[in-house]
Symmetry: D3
Subunit: 328 residues, 6 copies
């Protein structure tokens, strides 16, 4: 039996697996949990990050407002399902050259020690990885961008490994990038970054077509006694556009650039109407996961069609079992 290394989370959102479900991941029956107009100004709320916070939950949300500008907003919840999300975007303190950005989107939140670090796609002469932190989800400080443009999907590991911080990311171009590999980088201080290593890229079309165009890290990796469990998005390029689905990988505990397993099959893809229809059809985009070390339960938050937010469930056991039996 695989074990999650981490905190107990007795109040993790949860539904039992439907008896007719053959797959390792199942949707919440009341999806979507956050609708497109759930704040006063929002066109869409998706690709967002949640964490346990003071007995309940806090989150950083990507809300595109009705001008369809992209920014980050804080929100709070008692049960992880019903959310109160603010109407004004986050304000970061920090270097004006860094904070004065053009747009922010696709956040992740990583708790390291007692501090909550946020990473996101930051508009600074093109998309790159922004980093900030908060202690209370009310005051926010922005650090230096991790990299030069062009980069997206920056995800911090929840602890130092071998003495350094580790950051996954996906170098890109400045448009609707048709390619994308996951890399990992190290830092002694969250300011200076180096020792960049390749983790994995798209799969050959004839072996695993759903992830043949590009891949990118999803939620913060979940530590297990067998390694880091990484959920990620994979993309296929059809004649009518990109389809985003979700897969899983297991990375080595001490050297997470080493891939031990990686799913040949997707574990969640756009199949219901709120995933197939919306501002960007056919997108399932995982951005955050809660995990309960006691029960092995995992709750996955994912963006649907770039419009609403969905919730899905799995367990560390079923996921690792699936991974090992269906590795690419």
């Amino acid at each position: 039996m695989a074990k999650i290394i981490g905190e107990s989370l007795y109040n993790i959102p949860w539904q039992e697996k439907p008896t007719d479900c053959r797959e390792p991941v199942w949707r919440y029956s009341e999806n979507p949990i956050i609708l497109r107009h759930d704040t006063a100004v929002s066109n869409s709320i998706f690709n967002s990050a949640v964490v346990p916070f003071r007995g309940g939950f806090a989150g950083i949300f990507r809300c595109d407002d009705r001008a369809v500008t992209m920014n980050l907003y804080a929100g709070f919840s008692d049960d992880g399902i019903h959310w109160e999300i603010g109407d004004t975007p986050l304000v970061f303190e920090g270097e004006p050259a860094v904070t004065g950005v053009e747009y922010r989107y696709d956040p992740r939140v990583t708790k390291i020690g007692e501090r909550y670090y946020i990473t996101w796609c930051n508009g600074y002469h093109g998309p790159t990885i922004g980093i900030g932190y908060t202690d209370d989800f009310r005051h926010f400080t922005q650090l230096e961008n991790a990299f030069l443009p062009f980069n997206r999907n920056g995800v911090l590991f929840p602890r130092r490994i071998g003495g350094t911080y580790r950051l996954l990311s996906r170098p890109s171009d400045n448009g609707h990038t048709p390619f994308g590999d996951i890399f990992i980088s190290e830092s002694p201080d969250l300011i200076y970054w180096g020792k960049h290593r390749h983790v994995f890229g798209p799969a050959p079309f004839e072996k695993s077509g759903w992830q043949s165009a590009k891949v990118g890290a999803g939620p913060v990796p979940i530590e297990t006694d067998e390694g880091w469990l990484l959920l990620y998005h994979g993309v296929i390029h059809t004649c009518n556009g990109f389809v985003y689905r979700t897969g899983a990988a297991l990375l080595d505990s001490e050297d997470p650039s080493e891939v031990k397993y990686r799913t040949k099959y997707y574990i969640l893809g756009p199949e219901v109407s709120y995933e197939q229809c919306g501002d960007v059809p056919n997108v399932v985009f995982p951005c955050a996961a809660l995990a309960d070390a006691d029960s092995g339960r995992i709750a996955l938050y994912y963006g649907c069609a770039d419009t609403v937010t969905g919730l899905a469930f799995t367990t560390v056991d079923s996921l690792l079992d699936f991974l090992k039996k269906n590795s690419l």
Copy 2:
């Protein structure tokens, strides 16, 4: 209180605003009002123009037939909601070099004096602006094309301004144009056009993303005591195609190339299934508006997913108020 300058239209189609609606525009509860197969030959009926006519309503409709060729058809209605649309396309009298066109689509109808002028996208060695007129919606005369190709979305003002006719248009290329600005041109006689001036173009992506790729005029501008109220379409280019939404602008009464206000936020976007799914997904395309000078009511007709026709409502007050508070 803003005032519409124009005729009374006591029988304008109307529904009160739902109490839970926070936005300045709301959909008709029985949408879509015209279905794709509502004529014997049609594949789709959308992007069409209606006007008050002899106590009821008349319209010029874009019907793509089941060969998916594009042409214009006349229709009549008592209440502006239930329509009888003809099975044969309009026949225009005029210069054979001009009338012998390849296709016609996206009509607008402008009443100037007692005559109804029609403008549309006309296939003459590429798309350009066709102009014609009718007195009875049974006999039609076609004038010279206003411009060289390539142009789309030609919209006439409902009266001469400073002694000349004024025409909005959007120069384009001969394909699925990825750019587009609104220009205005003058004519002494509806034949010769000049004094072309730039009105406005797309907005910066980081300020108003929904209109960052291209913009084009929608219905005939509505005259108010504060200027011309222009509804227009704005387009964003996502990784899975274009999304068309609707915005509003206020143009100066005497010099409509001068933009007084323009919405930062869209006022109507594809959010329900008949707008999100169809031959071209995610299109809301406003093409005509009825206005009642007495009540300030406005009824907006718009194409949905290039397949069916929808109806929405607003008032001049709420729209101007929204415009002023949310100008780009």
Copy 3:
């Protein structure tokens, strides 16, 4: 009255035409008949081929598995509507240089004499036309590829004509080909192919827009006393992608490169949710047809949105009548 030249098929799947249907083809009321997860491993089941077999029906199905790799699977049915489809792909005996392909998709099955020939799109340094045969749908032998890459939509005629086998195909490029014409080729032995002739290509946009980008053969042609009845797909390129619809053509009995009639109007297009939404939105792709020579009934199997399989009905009379009245 047109006559189908062929076998009786008293148990052909059938529903009478709805009384309010004005078109020559109508959908099965319980569509889709095959769902995306109807096998243990499938992401989608579509673009597939069925034939009468031993009093019931057999089929070769395109199942993309949950890795989204494309392969062929055999299935059986008593009524042509409810299917048992295998969980493991076809295994072909034959030349390893030919059988060791990268992918297989979009099969057709043609009975010639007592043998069932399968043609499909075969990955051999790019897509080309694979050919194989079976006598029992349990053992399969693969022959040489008919052509060099790049080609798709290979469809065999059900008998020799003038002493040679005849094969329709659509030369393409190695991507999401934006063009495509139907050609016919001859062979004395199913190994060597030549005497390639052009059959027909896309129609001019202004005459028949739905088939203005590319066309390709669908089911095995149905022989009638007036010629070969060919159902085919036609594609339009909109600003938001390709839309696939279905048309019909009548080819000369003795020289099927000669087109006698061809529909100006499509006879089936994506209009319901399972055709408009799915992995590739807006696709109706005909791949097989059953025909009963006694009654003139035709049952059409077609892929929907590259995700599920639908069934539709027509008769040889109504189709030929429509063809003659609405020829391009």
Copy 4:
């Protein structure tokens, strides 16, 4: 014998045809006549216009300066071969909305009555046709732009025809346009333009490949007793870029939208080093022609590789003879 209708020009630049030349056009032996750095600031001088002026010659030159910005400069010459070109660009009086342009290039000069009209490609929210005039090549007045963007290669006829001014042009897009047809438009006053007619477009690739991508008018048409002699550029798209060559057409005297003859073969193409190598390799771009009504001599000025200016010679007789024998 064909006759030029126009003025005598005894001092037209001239060299006799080399005895070994089989073609109707031959190069000046001292080409190029203007070098890239012939002004203090120029990167290149090409695609320029010359006319007889006060017993000598005047010209409007496209000089790209060493910032590679495009503007127009005046120049003077005694013999049409050795030129003094100014170091500062033309200054136009006129409407600020019109004169405040972003760039000017590819001028033509047309004498109508006693006034010299200049047309060029004018940057106003994209390229369009600018029009101005001068009486002395020292003071310049700019009129309204003839058209909306996007347009290039505007060429005025040297007299009114049927009471209206006539202007050739080539609608384009806002980039390196891959297509282009020649149109003609009318105006009563050089301000308002209409009655746009198609003149001719590219030729089919298999009939006349050198002009299969786009065509555009070159020098001001030369009037003859058989019609208007138009020299134009034609372009082929090879795997390594565009090649620009020169052809000729004869347009009807009274209705110049009617093409009487048009060369199947080019009459001048890039074949010597200053035409093959330069900032844009493989460009021969005719922009001006002098003609002597007495002798029938024609001197053709053309841009070479977007870098220098060349001169070539022909006669009205040999050109019309070639046109009639080799018409497309």
Copy 5:
């Protein structure tokens, strides 16, 4: 010492290797041997095929005429260097459906038995491989096209192998194809073709960049006692277009789909002005080779910049030696 298997050709064109030349191939000092205007109508003469004929030499030449249409012309020479080329294109007898093509280019000539077979790129609804033959270079018969479009660079082997004819070709798309692999096909009769096998494709960019975009067969393979010596073209895609160079490969005598050696380094690339400048800059395109079995001498004819024809020399010994020492 490698031996050519074939006829003696004592009068093969020849120059000794310059003493300072380190490479296995050297240019003829009087290059180019055929100029662009060497026939009355030609714009360019290149990519052409020559063979020994009745004590002298005959050839089939690609001449693009001054309309830049592509066709084939016959020519004769006493010494293989000075050529008389006809002014009218080849006329083929044969099936009108096949001979009525749109264009012909890039011929090869293969002597099989006493007959001369010509293969070329033939315009039949896109480029494909045309085949014809002649006995006297005055009367020509055209056979069926070998393949469906789209294909280029068809090259016949000079004898049957294992009882069947063998044909190399390069499947392509219908534009300026950015990819290309060499395949081989078999036929019992030159009409029906099958058993298609992959020979080789582009090399990885980082191992052999000059052939990283596409490759295609050049002259008819030369038989040696070690296998078939194939000269071929390889293409790199730079930021300013394609560069075509020449390499060599050794194919197995009995199964020429098996590659024994293939040059990592090019053996001839564009380095002198007539190869670097012309209608398509930077093209060296080998199309024919003469070989003398007695001396081992090889004379290579190649197109230069799609404009003129060059000649180069090598020997079978030096080429095989180079191949073995520098194989990819």
Copy 6:
């Protein structure tokens, strides 16, 4: 009078300015100084870096070999003009994950203290900035890549500024990037990089067209008493490809992200045959500069048409004077 801050270099290569030269930079009369085949294996030698070394000069050269693979080679010279370049590429010691790269190109060499640092474009899952060092140009050590892909044109400053190393670079995509801005990054240790700041990007087309598509740093900046003198390349995108030219900028001494001046005009562009013709036509690419603090002389090494190496001269005075008078 501006002063170079640095070492004396009495033996800097030098020629006086030609009396007829009006520009601030002039070419060496014996150019090109290094030919394409100057080593036994090279296809081309260009875009290379030289420094003073032990009384003479050493260099790191980009040689593409005759397989057209890109690698770095060391060379030595007594006079900076005649070079001995090795036949085998550099071998780097270091982390195998970093040294095992796919390709290396476009080196720069920076002396910091007594050590020579090399930066180049390094193939590691796409192009990025490689860093290494040498003390003797015989043994080489490679450090970590500075950045994630995709990046090119990494140039180190010759001393720490404010305690940190500074590196210029140009983020790109993984193809023939059509855009490019110069950024600067800091590092305490040459391993970890951060504090990325934008320096400058392309200029508006209408103000300085030659640098309107992309810009990138050239040689190591030269320190002067007025700031850092940076030579850089600028690119324009014409209809026939990219043209690379050279400009200059002056950066603030203490904060080199601050641009004090930048040339509106190019100072060196492709104008002679070895710059206009070659494997990539129309490229002048500056990669290294020698400077003599005593005389103010500067010798500029630049790649020509991606094929050979040229030398040009200027002085710090004339360059700064030109910069100030012609700043963008």
